[in-house]
Every structure is written in C-alpha cells, then in structure tokens.
C-alpha cells in the first residue's frame, strides 16, 4: 500500500506541476488508525497528505458531481468500483472526459472505516466483523475499467461463491413472506437519503424525492412512504447501479440495500442482457433501460 501511495503522490505532484489538474481527489488519514477519508488536494503542497491504505474504501466518483458545473480539471484516484461510477457519470453526460485525469488502482479489497468506527465508539449495533468489507467480498470488478494510468497488479474478482445467492433465497420465498420481509426491513429506514447522496448513479439535478410540485413521494416516515421511496429508487437504479455497495455501507441503520440492487442486476441481465452497468465507457453509449428496442420483453407488464 505504501508503494501505491507513493505512486499516487508522484502522479499527483506531476499533474499539479504540469498544470494538468486543479484538484486531485484521493484519501487522507483521520485521527484514528482506521479513519481514512476523502481528501481533495488543491496544490502540490497538499499532496503529502494523500494516502492510499486498506481503509480507502470511500467511492469518490459520486463527489465529482459537486464539480459538474465548473471548469476545474480533476485528477481522481479510482478503484474498480469507483471507476465504474466514473463511467456511469460520463455516460449520463454529467462530466466531460477531458476534464478528468483518472488514476486507476487495482484493488486488493478494502476494510470499512465506518464499521471500525462504530465498533470502537461504544455505539455499535452488532460487533460486525472488521475484515474485508462486505461490499468487497462481493466485488466482481476490482480492477479499474477506465483510467489514464494504472497502478498495482491486476486482481482476481473477490467474489467467492454465488453472486445471486441471497437474491435467489428471496425469490424463493412466498409472496407473503417476501412482503413481510421488505415491510419489516423498510419500516426501520429513517429516510435520511444518505443512500442516494453517496450514489454515483443518482446524478439527477433535481431528484424525484425532492420534487414538491407535484410531490411524487410523501415524506412521512411510515411503511407506505418508506416503501415508495425504496421502490422508486430501485426502479431508477435498474441498469444503472454499478454495485459499488456504498449505499449499503453508509446506511446508518443497516438496510440491506444491496439485496435490492443485486436483484436489479440479475433482472436487467435476464431481461435485457447481457448487461453490466458502467463496465466500459463509449461515447454516446446508454445504459440498458435508456434505449428503446422493439424486441424489449414486456411480458412483465
């Protein structure tokens, strides 16, 4: 990791010196050993604060959206999952490719500072395991799919076992069981919308959940509105979710959002596939559900 950090710093230094970037997005260390957090260097002087370590899990691609209306040239370090987020944002025309300098890192799998923080803080819910993060244990794409330069040895997919095991288990439940499962699960959502805010695929300028005239989804925290929120979000993610797992990771009340997202991935693949969102950037390419095809299946309508 030290070596990767050094290479990232070298690149950042070079890019700043050559005037190729105004901002360089990476990570830095917090106070506690596991508190690695996003960091935006603005000049050569900041480069020394950059770090890449086993806790550099935070997907920075979503934060690009903060700069979408600007002119700044941005250097960004991406792991496999993050790189798919970048593709998503480019595909949706939210950023110009030539404003980006992408430094890819082949990712060995990360630990989650949020889990560690929760465990040590004394607030923790369940003492979750502190090894490789859940999202990384399910990772199919640890190597960046888009980059201007790449660091590290190519990694094999970290996913062991059956990708859709939990989805299959849900599909095999009876209708009533499944309904109860989701009703119980969503009843505890506090509707903070963190799952939306961290998501690189959620890049609409005005989100449907913020629309007031008309208000499509009510703001009450009850089963109807919570369910509506998650249903609508799910539909919006179909063919767009790049499985970075950030939504589930940041959710303060541990809603198993990846169960929904994986179901979407599976269905999109079966109905419109084969298709994996954000796997490669081609100018003008659109995600599966953004194009109409007369042969699209409609038997579920």
């Amino acid at each position: 990791m030290k070596e990767i950090t050094n290479k990232i710093k070298e690149t950042a230094t070079r890019l700043f010196k050559e005037g190729q970037v105004d901002i360089f997005m990476a990570w830095t260390k917090g106070d506690l050993p596991f508190q690695t957090k996003p960091y935006f260097a603005r000049s050569v002087d900041d480069v020394d604060n950059i770090i890449f370590d086993e806790y550099s899990i935070h997907n920075l691609s979503g934060t690009l959206l903060k700069f979408r209306d600007g002119q700044e040239k941005i250097g960004i370090v991406v792991k496999g999952c993050d790189s798919r987020g970048v593709v998503r944002i480019l595909e949706d025309n939210q950023f110009q490719r030539d404003r980006l300098y992408i430094v890819g890192v082949c990712c060995p799998g990360m630990k989650d500072p949020l889990v560690a923080m929760k465990n040590y803080s004394g607030f923790n819910n369940k003492n979750s395991a502190e090894g490789i993060a859940a999202k990384c244990l399910n990772c199919t794409t640890p190597n960046p799919v888009i980059y201007d330069e790449i660091i590290g040895e190519e990694q094999p997919p970290h996913l062991q076992g059956e990708r859709f095991e939990q989805v299959n288990a849900l599909e095999n439940m009876s209708y009533d069981e499944r309904y109860k499962f989701w009703a119980d699960t969503f009843s505890t959502c506090i509707r903070c919308y963190a799952c939306r805010q961290v998501c690189p695929a959620c890049n609409c300028r005005t989100c449907i959940f913020d629309e007031m005239k008309p208000q499509w989804v009510g703001r009450e925290n009850n089963s109807t509105d919570n369910m509506m929120y998650h249903l609508v979000k799910a539909y919006h993610m179909a063919g767009r979710c790049i499985e970075c797992g950030e939504c589930e990771r940041v959710c303060p009340v541990n809603i198993p959002l990846m169960l929904i997202n994986r179901k979407l991935v599976k269905d999109v693949n079966e109905l419109f596939g084969s298709y994996e969102a954000g796997m490669k950037y081609e100018e003008g390419a659109k995600p599966a559900l953004s194009v109409y095809n007369v042969n699209d299946p409609d038997n579920f309508l």
Binding site: G30, L32, Q35, T36, K37, P38, Y39, F40, H58, G62, T63, K66, P113, L114, M117, K118, Y120, S121, G122, F123, N124, N125, K126, T188, I190, R191, C192, Y193, A194, Q197, V198, D210, M212, Q215, G218, R219, E220, N221, N222, E246, R249, V250, P252, V253, N254
Partner: protein, 338 residues
C-alpha cells in the same frame, strides 16, 4: 441510598408500562435505539442499558420523525379543521445519557420558550418523564463536557440512575420523578454504596470563544475547505439528539386529508428552496456552513448554550469522516485577520 437491583429492571419496566409507554435502550437486530418496552422481543432484542449509548437518540419520543397535526376537510369554499392530534399519552424515557437529555432540553428552548409554545411538542413533553443514566466512562467519540453537559449529573432529568454493577442508585430529582418513583417504590431497596470514580474524557475539545469567533467568519475560506468532501447525506442531522428542524407538509385524498410535520435537514437542497425556485443555500458549502453555525454560533447567541451536546454520534457515522470536533479546532486555529 435507594437502589434498583438489575434483577428487578424488568419488573420496573412492566410496572411502569401499565400506565405509560416506556422507552428503553435496546439492540434491535442491526440497529440500536430507544424502543417501547411493550415491543421487546426476548429472542431478537437485547436490553442495553450498559451501552455507552445507542445509535438513535430518544428525541423521537418527544419529537417524532413524523407527527400528524390535524385533519382537514374541504367543504365548498370552506376548510374545516376537524381534529387535532396533540398527544399527551404518558411516556417514560428510561436510561438516556446526559448528552441526549440535553438534546431534549435544547428542544425545550426552541419549542417552549421565547414567546411561542408549540402545543404538539408541549403535550408530549409534559407527559414524558426522563430517567437519565449517569456516565462514568466516556467513549472515544464523547466530548459532552466540553459543550457544557454534566455527564455525571445530567441536567433536565426527572430521575438519575447510576450504575454500580449489580444495580442502579436511584436518585429522584423532580416532582414528576417523585410520582414515578412512588409507583415503583416497593421494587427499590435501601443500602449504602460507594459511587464509581468518573473516568476522564478521551479527547480534548475546547469550545471557549468559538461562538464569538464564528460571528466574523461567515465568509471565511475555511468553509470551502471543510465542506469539500461532505456529501450532504443528512445522516449527521438525523442521528443528532438536538437537531430539531422540521417541515410541515400535507396529504390530501380528494377533499380530505391531514397536515403532518416531519424531520427535515439543513443538509438537503430542498430545505431552503423557495416557492419561486430560488435557493439561498444552493451548494453544499452553504448548507454545511449553516449546520455548524447553527450548532456552534446562532443557537448559543439565542439560548446561551450550543446546540451540540457532544454525544459524538455524527463523528462516528459520517461517511466522509467529517467531525464537529475538528471543525471546532479549525475555527479556533483559523486566521481571521485578513
């Protein structure tokens, strides 16, 4: 001293439960928070008074995330309000930490003082008895004492309990507390014990002078820098024991419907969006700045104490690793001469 033996806790909850909804700290599945004792499921829930603190504060007991206010009926040109929902059901919060009790007293300031009383809040608040659980061992994220909170002698509680290992010292503070104590008096015993020695805080925070200094820092470049990585996710405001912002919305079904209020967050774009579409806090920076100025400056100006109670929750849950403690440090260190 009056002592409640831990073996009798459940008896106390059951007794109180006869006349009130009793909220106790529990680990519930993947979550922890204050949940009603009558919903306790022995298999899957764990009673958790020993926790440093639970994840979700008890503020929803007095200020629910969604609260129906009144029903509306439209009749021709007339609008009739046909029922209001002031809720004065008896409730007990059992085992809140000092920071969370302070969160509630901050809301008291907002909803009950300065010339306006919020009747919905008042109804709930008056019917709520607070039993605070004194802290003797602050955790890594705690800094309440720096924010003026008395962690060993929680202010605003009706009763204070102190963990002595096999039981709790039971100290009644207010009249409301006396009424509650009377109901369970036969479950308490009398014995002399030595109280534990409070442990020191694990982090140093110095809030002195911060509110005053912030007055001149609205346009300071530090907000750009500090807010860069914030994702405006709103988690910090929703887990905070003292954040009280809400929105009032309406649901209509034809000619009938109701108004309700629901928590809102200054982190959201929609929070400050005006009817004409303008927005005084269009970008992340303005919203971020508002949160910290409200917590650390405006509130203190108006009510004499900050709106942060030092519980540390937001510093634990922030996906971007943003910490109010660091903000306080950064403000202290900031150069304001320019």
């Amino acid at each position: 001293m009056k002592i409640l033996s831990k073996t009798r806790l459940e008896n106390v909850f059951n007794k109180l439960n006869e006349t009130a909804e009793v909220f106790v700290p529990m680990q519930r599945g993947e979550q922890s928070g204050f949940y009603p004792w009558q919903t306790f499921a022995a298999g899957s829930d764990k009673l958790w008074l020993e926790a440093l603190n639970v994840y979700l504060p008890p503020k929803n007991v007095v200020f629910p995330q969604t609260e129906r206010m009144y029903n509306i009926k439209q009749e021709g040109q007339d609008v009739k309000i046909d029922e209001t929902y002031e809720d004065s059901k008896s409730r007990v919060i059992f085992g809140a930490r000092a920071c969370d009790v302070k969160g509630i007293t901050c809301m008291d300031d907002v909803f009950l003082t300065r010339g306006y009383e919020d009747s919905f809040y008042k109804a709930r608040r008056q019917a709520t008895t607070i039993i605070a659980n004194a802290c003797y061992a602050p955790g890594i994220a705690c800094f309440c004492s720096a924010m003026g909170v008395k962690y060993v002698d929680p202010e605003g509680a009706d009763i204070i309990i102190r963990d002595i290992g096999d039981g709790y010292v039971w100290e009644t503070i207010t009249e409301k507390g006396e009424m509650l104590t009377a109901r369970i008096a036969d479950l308490l015993e009398e014995r002399e014990v030595t109280l534990p020695e409070p442990k020191p805080f694990q982090q140093d925070v110095n809030y002195d002078g911060v509110a005053e200094k912030l007055k001149g820092m609205f346009e300071h470049p530090l907000w750009d820098k500090l807010s860069q990585t914030c994702q405006n996710c709103g988690i910090c405001t929703y887990v905070c024991p003292s954040c009280y912002c809400f929105d009032i919305q309406v649901k209509m079904y034809g000619n009938e419907g109701y108004r309700f209020r629901c928590w809102d967050s200054c982190m959201y774009e929609e929070y400050t969006r005006e009817a004409g579409g303008g927005n005084p806090r269009p970008a992340s920076k303005e919203r971020f700045r508002n949160r910290f100025l409200h917590k650390l400056e405006f509130f203190k100006e108006r009510y004499g104490h900050p709106l942060c109670t030092g519980c540390g929750r937001c510093t634990v849950v922030c996906p971007a690793g943003i910490s109010i403690v660091k903000i306080i440090d950064a403000v202290k260190e900031a150069d304001t001469d320019a």
